[in-house]
Amino acid sequence: MADVRIAAAAFDVGSEFAALTQSRTDIGGVGCFVGTVRGAAGGRALVALTLEHYPEMTERALAAIAAEAERRWDLLGCRLVHRVGRMVPGDPIVLVLAASAHRQSALEATAFLIDWLKTRAPFWKKESFADGTETWVDARESDDEAAAQWGADQAAIC
């Protein structure tokens, strides 16, 4: 049921929403999260963000995360799109859509999906700054904590 995709090009939220909901009358609400590139990091101007991934593993990991959401909530559809490659401030990076008959499951599943995706899918961000320097983004403890609140996991090794 879940639809997961890795994309180099930008996605269109309206098109993705339409693809998820077309011809459906059982859906009562769709939770949506779009991650976008910030124009600064640590007080320094950012010119680009480059996303690297582990191609063969990425879709498998996203599908596993979506399957876990479908196990926990009564979803009527779920869509994950994650971009890779070079992006500039303002660009969309990641899309999470979760559809359900009622808002609570749709919203909770959306939050769960982005929290787990951040700690369990093999993507790495590199920041390119206006001064010409580049750094790999460090994993955040706050992301681990956000993922851990959903319980039951092997997050410690992810």
Binding site: E56, M57, K125, R140
Partner: protein, 89 residues
């Protein structure tokens, strides 16, 4: 023991940059049975390898595209990947 099939090793993000290699195939060395064994073996390759794998807190692993801890077995024909903690989303 090796049965002749190589182990494919892949490196991502800053590990790939620091080691100067994205992937390689090796014959499973004698005595290497787990992820931890493989890391110890790779550390013997030189200072850059030793430094990278000494940072065990910041090196993660997958075996056959599943996240794997240090005790997970490595067998001939496996694909092993080393990378930093993930930062997607």
């Amino acid at each position: 023991m090796s049965d002749g099939r190589p182990v494919r090793i892949r490196y991502f993000a800053w590990l790939r940059e620091r080691l100067g290699i994205g992937e390689e195939q090796i014959e499973l060395p004698a005595g290497v049975a787990t992820v931890n064994d493989l890391q110890l073996w790779l550390r013997q390759r030189g200072p850059a390898w030793d430094t990278v794998f000494a940072m065990s807190r910041t090196v993660r692993c997958a075996v056959n595209q599943q996240f794997a801890g240090p005790d997970v077995a490595v067998n001939p024909g496996d694909e092993v990947a080393f990378f930093p903690p993930v930062t997607g989303g």
